[in-house]
Structures are given as C-alpha cells and as structure tokens.
Symmetry: C2
Subunit: 766 residues, 2 copies
C-alpha cells in the first residue's frame, strides 16, 4: 500500500482560521430580527415551598414581553427520570431551581424585571449529604418517591466474588471520594427558539445532540398541545462542551415557551455565573473498593460499591454507573467482579455527562487500589499491571469483546519514557495508571448510528453532510481527511457540513468518544460508493479495469500504465456534461454492530475498546503540600492516528483536564449553594499551569475502525488522578483518597503520616 496523502497527516483544524480571526459564529453572535432576551429567576433556597410569586411589577416594566411561572406553563417533563420541569411549582429542591422566566426586548430590561419579582418561600429542612439523605428520617427531596434512594438498577455481578475473596492471598479495601467539578467551557450555554406561523420550531443551540434534542423538543411541542410539528436544530460553532451540552435543559424549554408566548424569537444566554451554578457537573461519589490477588499477583476479584450524590433531579448523570462498570469489570483481567451503585437525591446541584462519563471517578479508585494491592503483594506497580494486562481476543466479565489491545505497549512505553526504575530526586515520585474506554461507539441509545450525504461538484470537490457534531474537537477535519484519502483528494477539497438537522442526517450525538469512529465510518461508506462509481467511469474513459485504478492527487491513475491518468474533475465533467449526464452523490448510514447492554449490564457495548496508560513524575513540597508535575507521559492505543496533531490535542486537553480534576478543581457547594461560580475562585488550570504532556501513540490498526482508528476524545482525562496520586504516594508515602489533592489536603496527610489516613474534611479553597 502506498503512503497516505491525507490520513496520518498533521492537518490543522479546518475551522482554525475562522475561529482565530473571530469570524466563526457562536450562539452569542446570532441576532434574529425581533429577537427578545430571556432571563431566569432561580431559587433563593435549597429546599422550600413556594408560597406566592408576585410578578405584577415586572410585567409593567416597559420592554417586558412575557413573564412565565410554573403554574402558567404546560406539563413538560425532562431528564433521564422525567422528574424535572422547566419552571417549578409547589416547591424548589435546589438553589438552581428555575422559578420565573421573563422575556424582554433587551437583556438589561429582562434582568431588571427579575429584580422586580417577589417570591415568598417557606424554607424546608434540606439534606446535602447523600449518606445522611439515605437515613430514614431525612427530609425527602421528592415526597412521592417516599425515599431519597433512587430505584436504579446499577448492579453487575460476574463470577463469585465471595469465593474469590476467600482464595485471595492479598486483599485491600478502601474508600475513595470524588467531588463536583464542572466543564468550564469557554463558550457558555445559549439557545434561541423561534416559531414560524405554522408553529414549526427552529432552535439555535450549541448542542452535542442535535438529533436527540430535536426529539425532545418535538415531545415538548406535543405536551404544549401543538401536535406533531417540525423541529429544526441549528448548531452554531460550539465553544467547548465536554458533556455539558449532551442533554436538554430547563432553559431551553423556557426559551421555547417564551417564544411561543411572545411569537418572537427568544434568546437565553448563560452568563459565566450561571454557567457555573446552573449547568451540570461531574457526579460526586463515595467509592468503596476491595480487590484481591493471588500470590503471583494475579487479580482474583474486584468488589465496588458506590453512593452517588444525585442532587435534586435525575439527569443522565445518574447513568454514569453504567459506564463506571466498564473499568470496574474490564480494566485488567479480573475473573470475579461485583458492582453496586446507589444514586441518592439531595438538595445539591445535579450532575450530568462530563468527559469520561464516570470513568475518571471509577479509575481513580481502581488504579489507586491497584497500587495499594501491588504494595501489599510486594510487586512493582508496573510489573503488577503487566501481570494483569488486557489482551487482544479476550472477552471481559461484562461481555466486551476485545479486538485490538495495545495496553501492554502503552504501559511499557510509559515505563521507558518515565525512566521508571531510574533515580529520583528529593521529594520525587513516579506513578502510573491505565485506562480502558469505549473506542468504537457505544450503544447507549437505541441507535448508535450516524448518517452521511455526500455530493461532488464538477471540479472534484466534495460536500459531506454529516450527522456528527464538531464541538471543537476537530471532527470535521478528520472526516474531511478520510473522505479526501478515499477519493484521492486534498483535505481542502472537502467541505463538511454539520450544523443543521434539516440538512444533516441523523446522529445520536457527540458522546462516548464515538465521533471519529462512527462518523468517519459513515463518511467512508458514502465515499466508497462514490469511489466505486468514479472508478467505473474512469475504467471506461481510460480502458483499464477498475481494480487497476487508484485515486490519488486529484487524479485517477492506472497502477500499471503511468500514461493512463485523468484529473478527477475532468472525469466528473465528462460524466456530467453529456447526454443523460450524471453527477455523483451518495448516502450512507453507519450503525455499528455493537450491542445495548442487557438487563444484567452485559453485552459488547462497543465495536472496539481503547486503552492507555499515563505516567507522571512529581515533586512534592513537604512544606506546602504543593504537587509539581515534572514529567507527564501519556501513551494511548488509538488504533490509527488519523490526524496526529488533533489527536495529541485531545490527549493534552484531556490530561490537563485530569490535572485540574486531580489537583485544584472543585465546585465548592455549601448548603446547596455554589460558593465559587467564577474563574477567580474555581481553579481550572491556566496556561501557566499547563503541563508538558509527552504523548506516545500506539497504532494497533483496528479492523473495524476507519483506517483502523479508535475514539480518543475522552480517554486523555481518565487515568490522570490515580497516576498523580500514586506518584504522590511514591514521593511521600501518603495515600490521598479524596480529590482534589489540594495543598492543604496533601500537607495535612504528610503531617499525619504514619497515622491512618482517613478521608480529610473538605477545605474551602486552597
């Protein structure tokens, strides 16, 4: 095979210039004629009865076009459990509960209207700790459920954990805690809703799920009594999402209701404070994990139970345990596995998808515990991992069929690059952690599909309409690369169109690191149909069999006879400009042959799995507790690097997000209130905190991936926390079991060294 001309090349993002020059249009840039601005009044209490709402003054304010309260809107229910409504009636259950919404001609007027609204509350006893919420006498967040513990079925069992525990030579059992962090998208959330005269709805929204949002809003219109209407989602450029835009939220339904009420387009844009307290976080959890191995270090069992703080409403965040099962059941070969998770209502904020979707939380516990078990067994942590490493061809306890697996290569590469056995300076330590993640789609919805339409013009250029959503990760660019490669074109010959459900085929959304795998396979399917027709046309023009022809450098060429060649554009024009002419178009719908998990949460969720290992060398300042990362190595089995530059970008970004999760980030929630809703007090790593991440790309060339590629969107942030925690232990001998590893927490642990290291109380700030 000849070298690739597009795949494997370091091609800058197609939209880089538009973004860098400020021409890319984000939701904040869109102004529709006659557009109104909506604002939301949130609850003053974490838990209270709404006694009375007085909106009279707000209604009289000039420029105010609508004021909505929960009792004046139709019954629209949303969220995973359908336990949430756009505007609350009866009582509020969290500080982010939406109580009143206004639409005005100007955002300042809308804000002033909010200030004129008086809501009388009767405060209710609240509960903020999930373990307290599980008590029988705890205040009930949703009375109708009669308990705060959700009836969700998160249980997995494979083999016989009790029997294995008895057989185990070494066992460790620990409790870990992880807390709220949030996505910190530079592009805040926003929506514009607009009805036409037939009550068809157009929604502009920086969403990761255009097709699913379309369905949600169709349901909402039905609930509004409008019957079956058309809904069109137009997706402007997205300034980051990371899972935060993977669902539909109250503010979107509010915009729709205000637009319907006013018959004008209504825009709601979150300010930075709202983005912090009114969008959903990564799910906090209390994780109990026990693992055991035999004398040779072979894992015998893994037993995990979790309590998750569900907050006041049940979003898709409550389904993160279904993904946590993945590393719990399948990271390393472990023959007996048990997992049980309980989601508990509290009066806190509620969580949602965030990059890794539970995997970073679970992996923090697993990989911390792995190091502890290795120590218990007297085996080097790297060696211990290699003993248990996943292997191609294995079927894991959850029923995942591993095709390609480069985990061994990843671990060995990290070991080598980190100089694992080499000398360490004062206060230095090394740590490693691995990951497994879905890399070939994930059938979490009824469909894991993505559609493509493709058309060629008379000059050898292509438009690709994809269902896929580029939210900044570069999906458009890799789609253009595989199409260009397949059709012998240059990347700039391919335009990827992905912003409009009217135009683009269906796709389940940008989640589960599926876009490169699924959308590129879909685009390839369409491109191959075009290729076949191109070769057929060329075969007649050049008197050469299609098998002997290749597409390359905008030409079709014979492999055998260098004289037989023709510019692709010319070939297309010959096909078009003749009697009964033809132009080339194609469609393809790719739905991977992966499986929904069954009632026991087993099944081959993904077509392939991605593996990786991160290693860090840290230096811990024992005077301040400060953890400094001296070296960071990220090794990933990516199948094939379609665009090494963008892939490295994903890994850098993931690792840095992981570093924030590990060391500095936390949403400080006090009695249900977010105390640090701004970038001054919420410590996301900045440019000066950036760590130089050394990437090692392992190409296992997966049989099902597009040109062999696997998904790599989420993995970069998965193993960071345990790798750093393990390195801190190596450096200091203290084992931190709770995130983040703030200065205070590390310092206190060092001071208490020698004593048992319980979960420390959570400090406020650093």
């Amino acid at each position: 095979m000849e070298a690739f001309t597009a795949v494997g090349h370091r091609i800058p993002k197609l939209d880089a210039v538009e973004k860098a020059t400020g021409r890319a249009r984000y939701i904040q840039d869109i102004k529709l004629p006659g557009m109104l601005y909506g604002k939301i009044l949130y609850s003053k209490y974490p838990h209270a009865r709404i006694v009375h709402i007085d909106t009279a003054k707000a209604r009289r304010l000039p420029g105010v076009k609508a004021v909505l309260t929960g009792d004046r809107i139709p019954k629209i229910r949303f969220g995973f459990y359908k336990d949430n409504v756009p505007l609350k009636t009866g009582k509020v259950r969290s500080r982010r509960d939406e109580v009143v919404a206004v639409a005005a001609t100007d955002p300042d007027i809308a804000q002033e209207a909010l200030d004129l609204i008086e809501v009388h509350y009767e405060a209710l006893p609240a509960v903020f700790d999930p373990e307290e919420a599980m008590q029988e006498d705890a205040p009930l967040v949703h009375e109708e459920h009669k308990t705060n513990v959700l009836k969700l079925p998160w249980k997995l069992h494979y083999g016989d954990v009790e029997e294995a525990r008895k057989r185990a030579r070494h066992v460790v059992k620990e409790r870990f805690r992880v807390t709220w962090v949030t996505h910190c998208c530079l592009g805040t959330s926003g929506v514009i809703a607009e009805f036409d005269q037939s009550n068809n709805l157009t929604v502009y929204r920086n969403t990761q799920i255009p097709s699913l949002a379309q369905k949600d809003f169709m349901d909402a219109l039905r609930a509004m009594g409008l019957g079956d209407r058309r809904v069109r989602i137009i997706k402007p450029y997205i300034g980051g999402a990371f899972g935060s835009k993977l669902d539909t939220y109250a503010f979107e339904y509010i915009a729709i209701l205000l637009a319907y009420e006013t018959r004008r387009p209504v825009c709601i844009l979150f300010d930075r404070k709202e983005e912090f307290f009114a969008t959903s976080t990564r799910q906090p959890a209390i994780i109990d994990i026990a693992q055991g191995c035999d004398a040779e270090g072979r894992l015998l069992f893994r037993d995990v139970s979790m309590i998750l703080d569900n907050g006041a409403y049940t979003s898709w965040g409550a389904t993160t345990p279904s993904v946590m099962m993945m590393p719990i059941s399948s990271l390393y070969r472990v023959p007996n596995v048990r997992y049980h998770a309980r989601c508990v209502y509290t009066n806190n904020t509620w969580s949602q998808a965030m990059r890794g979707y539970g995997n970073p939380q679970a992996t923090f516990a697993i990989e911390s515990s792995m190091d502890m078990l290795a120590e218990e067994a007297g085996i080097d942590p790297v060696e211990f991992r290699l003993i248990n490493v996943n292997q191609p061809g294995e079927v894991t306890p959850q029923g995942f069929r591993i095709t390609t697996c480069g985990l061994r290569e990843c671990i060995e590469e990290v070991k080598r690059r980190l100089d694992w056995d080499g000398p360490k300076g004062l206060g230095e330590g090394v740590g490693i952690a691995s990951l497994i993640h879905v890399g070939g789609g994930a059938r979490v919805y009824k469909s894991d599909g993505c559609g493509t339409l493709l058309k060629m013009d008379d000059y050898g250029r292509v438009e690709v309409f994809t269902g896929a959503t580029d939210m900044g990760q570069g999906a458009d660019t890799v789609i253009a690369q595989v199409v260009a490669e397949e059709l012998g074109l240059r990347v700039e010959d391919v335009r990827v169109i992905h912003q409009d459900t009217d135009v683009c085929p269906w796709d389940v959304g940008a989640h589960a690191s599926r876009t490169t795998f699924v959308a590129c396979n879909s685009a390839l399917g369409a491109a191959r149909r075009i290729k076949e027709r191109l070769l057929d046309l060329a075969s007649r023009e050049l008197a050469e069999s299609p098998e002997a022809l290749i597409l390359r450098d905008r030409e079709v060429r014979s492999r055998r006879d260098p004289e037989k060649r023709m510019e692709i554009g010319k070939l297309l024009r010959k096909a078009h400009f003749r009697l009964k002419g033809q132009m080339l178009m194609a469609d393809y719908f790719y739905d991977p042959a992966n499986e929904n998990l069954d009632r026991e949460f087993k099944g081959n969720l993904s077509m392939t799995y991605t593996f990786g290992a991160h290693g860090v060398r840290v230096k811990v300042d024992e005077e301040t507790g400060k953890v400094r990362i001296l070296k960071y190595v990220a090794a990933h089995d990516v199948g094939r690097a379609i665009n090494p530059m963008l892939l490295e970008g994903q890994v850098y970004g993931g690792a840095l997000m992981g570093v924030g999760y590990t060391l500095t980030e936390q949403l400080i929630v006090d009695k249900g209130e977010v105390m640090n809703p701004n970038f001054r007090d919420y410590k996301v790593p900045t440019a000066k905190d950036a760590v130089a991440v050394e990437t090692a790309i392992i190409e296992t060339v997966d049989r099902d991936g597009p040109y062999g590629a696997k998904g790599i969107g989420e993995p970069g942030c998965v193993p960071t926390a345990p790798a750093i925690a393990n390195a801190v232990y190596d450096a200091t001998g203290v084992r931190i079991r709770e995130l983040p590893l703030t200065l205070e927490r590390v310092l206190m642990a060092i001071r208490e060294k020698g004593a048992p290291n319980p979960v420390t109380p959570q400090p406020e700030g650093r």
Copy 2:
C-alpha cells in the same frame, strides 16, 4: 389507479404564509456583520471616451472603504460574447456602463461618494438604430470587430422555401416591430459578496442560476489571481425574476471585487431606477415574415428574417433567436422554413432573457401573419389554424419530436368558450393565437440536469434538497406534492431545501419552463428509491409482497388485506432502532434525454413540447384608440396539472404580462437613455388593469413528465400579443404591426384606415 392525494390538488404555496407575514428573507433583509454597501457610478454618455476619473474627494470621505475604477481591477470578462467587463476602461458604450464603484459603511455615504467623483468624458458619435448601425459609415460600438453586426450563426433552413413560394397560392409578407420591455420584478436585484480568510467566496444573490453563477464566479476568482477557490451561492427568497436573474452581471463582479479589496462583506442593492435602466430587457426586433399556403389553406413555407438591437454588449439576449426558431420552425405544420437573424450593436441598453425568451416576439409576427394569410386565402382564422395544427407523433422541421400534443383541443376550446362564431357588439372583435414552447426541459447548456438528495426522519417526514430554484413560481410546492404522492405522505411532511449550493445538488437553472418537468422528475427518482426500500421493509414487517403494498395517508397498506397496514413513521423507527439500524436517504440526478441543437440548429431540444391557444374578445373605442379586453380564454396543454391553482397562477401571470407587452408597456429609450425608469411612467398593468383570464387546462399526460406534467412557466405570455392584435383587426379592420398597441397607435391606424398601414413612428408615452 386510486385518486391522487397530493398531485392534482389546489395546494397553496408552501411559503405563502412566510411571505404574506413578512417573515420571508429577501436579499434586502440580509445583514452580515461588518457589511459594507456598494454603489455604482454609471456613464453620463451613451458613447464616449473616458478622459480622466478623479476619485480623490470620494476617497477622503469618512466611511468610504474602497473606490474602484476599471484600470484598477483584474481582467474579468462576462456575458455570452465575453465583451463586457465590470468597470469600463477606455470608453463607455451605453448609458448603463459601469464606470466607478465605491464601498462604504452606509449606503448614503456610498451615494455621497459617487457624487464627489468627477469623470471627464469626450463624447463620441453614437448609433441607436440597428438598421443605421448596419451602415458602413456607422460609429463602431466595438472597434475591434470592425462592424456592428455580430458574427452569430442564427440561420435555419429546412426544405426549399423558394420552390414552395413559387407553388404557393396565397402569400403574405409583412414587417413587424417589437420594442424594449422589462421584467418589473417587485424584488429588485441585489448581491452580497463575502470572502473567508482562505479567499473562498460566498455570494448571496437572488439568482435563477445558482450553479452557473457559481461557475462564473469561480472563473472570476481565477481571473483575480486567486486560483481555484470554493464559491458558495446562497439564494434568499426571490421576489420575481422572469429571466432577469438568469445571468451574472457587472454589479455582482463589482461586489466581489469590493469585498476582496475591503476584506468585508459588500452588499449592492439596486434601487427601482437602477432596476429599470441597469437591468436587461426583452430584446427588440424588426421582423420580416413571409408565409404562403396552397388553395386548401395548407401552409407551404415560412420565411423569416430579423434584425435585433443588441445594445452595447452581447448578453444571452443575443441568443434569443435560437428560441425564436422554435415557433418559426414548429408552430403548425410547415414543410419549408427559413430563418435568419442578425444581432447589431448599438449604443442602447442591452437585453437578456425574459419569459418566453424570444418566443413572444416571434409568435407576434407568426400569428399576426397567420391571420393575414387566412384572410388572403378566404378561410376563417380558427379553421385555418386547425388545417395546419400540430399533431402527436410528428417531427418538426427543426427535428422536434412531438410526443403529446393538445393544440387542436386548445384551439377548439378557445373557439367554444369565446363563442367565436357568435354575435359581436359594436367595435368588438375576436382574435386567437397559438403557441408552442419547450415543455420537457431544453438542452441549451451542456447539461439540462437537476440533482436531488432526500432524507427521511424517524417520523415519516422528508427533507428534499433540490437543485431547482423557486423564484416565486411555486417550484417547492410542486416538488413537495410529487414526493408526497410517491411516498404516501402529506405535502406538509415534505420540506424542500433549495437555497444554497453547498447543500443543494447541481441544476442548470430556472429557465425554459423546465423546473416542474426536470426537478420533479429528479425528486421522483430519489423518492422512488426510497419507496422501494420502504416497501421492502414493510414487506418483511407485514409478510406481504412489495407489489401488493401501497403507500398512502402516511401508511403502508396491503391492497389485498386491510388488516396489513403500518404507519410509515413506525416502519422507519423499526428500521432505525435496531442492531445495525438503517435510515432512508437517497440521491438522484435527472438529466433528460433531450438534445443540444446541432450546427444547423436541429435536434430534439426538449423531451416534450407544450401547446396552447389564447383567444380574446376586445372592444376598441374608435374615438380614443383604447382596447378593452372583454373576455380572455387561455387554453393550455399542460400534460398534467400537478397543482391547478399554481398552474392557473402561472397562466394568469403570463397572460397579464402579455397584456402589458401588447397594450401599454415599453421602456422608452431616447438616445440611449431610459426616459421612464419608474412605475409612474412605465405602464405595467396594475390590479385595476387585471383581466379575468379564463383558463382551460388540457391534460395530455405526457409519458416523460412527472405524473405526466409539462412545463408551463413561460407559455402564458407567448400568444397574447397576436391574439389581441388579431382581435383588434377583427374589430376595426386595422392591422397593428408594432408593439405596444398604445391608444395613439391604434387611433392613428384607425384614422388612416384604408391607406396602407406602415409601421408608425414610436410615440413617447401614451
């Protein structure tokens, strides 16, 4: 066959509500961030040397961002003959010649800048009469050609005209004249050009030819030294076109050049005055026609020669003779035909496509001459036409293969409805004229194709991406109807998308009454691919053979067993939401099997031909010369009326345009200057002038048409002028040989009755 549920129904235009409520966005409604406004300074002289242009003051005006003159721009040539450039250098050749262009932050500033520009001209002798322009000593419009007569090949010869003339029992020979009229679109011309950072170009333009404009602008970018760039045409709603937007014009290239110069979007919008004097008209002509018949009234020959006033530049208007050949060769069976046309440069305005594209001019001469020949032969005009009527299966002298032909039925229907032989009041007369036009596309470009992409959602709804251009005629609606009919859906289930070359497949443009025929056949091709898959899916779900299944009322049903039925949306969801799910998409490119005319202008230009006859009853006031239309019958062979309401709208609109052409409209051009560039002085019929047109729809169900339909966009305006002129003759005995039949012209002719009726001098106004 069961009755149709969508086809044949009187369904309002899909965009009617958006237009009626002011929500439809026209070019005038589009504002891009940072957009500048361009204005053009036109020539002060019809023919002059440009001595010096002083733009210094204009450049200094605050808000002016660019001032362009011809010597500062690259060599871009456009028009059919490539004899035109965006900004003129050296000399100007007409009053509409573009000399300087400015771009400013505000249209008023742009206008003020124009006022500050000083252009020094040296006037040159000019020529305004094409016959004078043919003289050897006439001033040359383009010196390099050494003559004003264009070397265009408009000659057709079939049979032996000279021999036939000798055999003829009756011969008439006359000269007719037609003058300038213009389209009077309510939506004036406009364009916005915008470059991205990679010099790809987006053009917003109310154009009838998105795909051809794209090519023209790609050529322009190449001329600008930008190499092969992407060009995207976005077509907003069009407020009427009628051929006026069937080419690219100087102002579009100027907008592109200004946008490139300023790196900002530049918008040029024509005001009403510009729309009158700076857009192109219907081509004026001097037509000499001789016809002869035998004793039984059978046509023996037709001999036509024409002089066309080409104006200063050669646009596609110079190609109207290629369409004039159609009625000349093929309206009625005429065994010997000769045609010769000369296009002559003058310093007048230049012409372009206008509804009928030469056919109304030629038919005015042919059908006036037919009545004169009938009188000469002593045969009733209706009877004379029926003797010579076209018939299905005939091949005409130009090589047109007539498939279906309802001309006899049309003529008989007109005769009946007009009570042809019945009594007439004082000053009343009846007249009739027929038409032939292309009805199944017209291969005037290398391709006559139109592409469609089609996708279905999970609810049985369809998006159709068509290359076709809806410019107000209702193309979207008929496309939705045929797709709905084919797939058993309702029209509101189909959304037609047609505004963007990035999204929509190629189409040659909205001309030659081709859209219903070609675009519906294309849409049907795609819909049938979907239908096949739907029936295949249903066949498995319902255990019924596909042949026994029909799609109707959003269901798939068995013809045999009423129990076997399933909602189409449900069927689609079953196909989608399963392992390796599928969603239905399809593409189709339809290019009719019609032929380009050969070097002798012969060939089967269209898949089918449309016929019609218009009859009028008039009352002429002999005191004032006023022609009042008492009754107007329009009978058309339309193949199939897909939407009788829209079809009638086309016929009404056409007939009224014809009435204006016949009685009141003319662009008064005096020494090259348009003297009536406004709706006060240019007498387009208003609502109070509207004639009640009685339509008779003859359905011949063409084998190649979509559901049997033929095109009907242009024919409505073709036979109006001769029908009225013939009726005036019947009423008064005066034969008017020149359009329009103004009061003065009719009155003068009546006064001179008895004397030979030469072409009267052209009055100024009415």
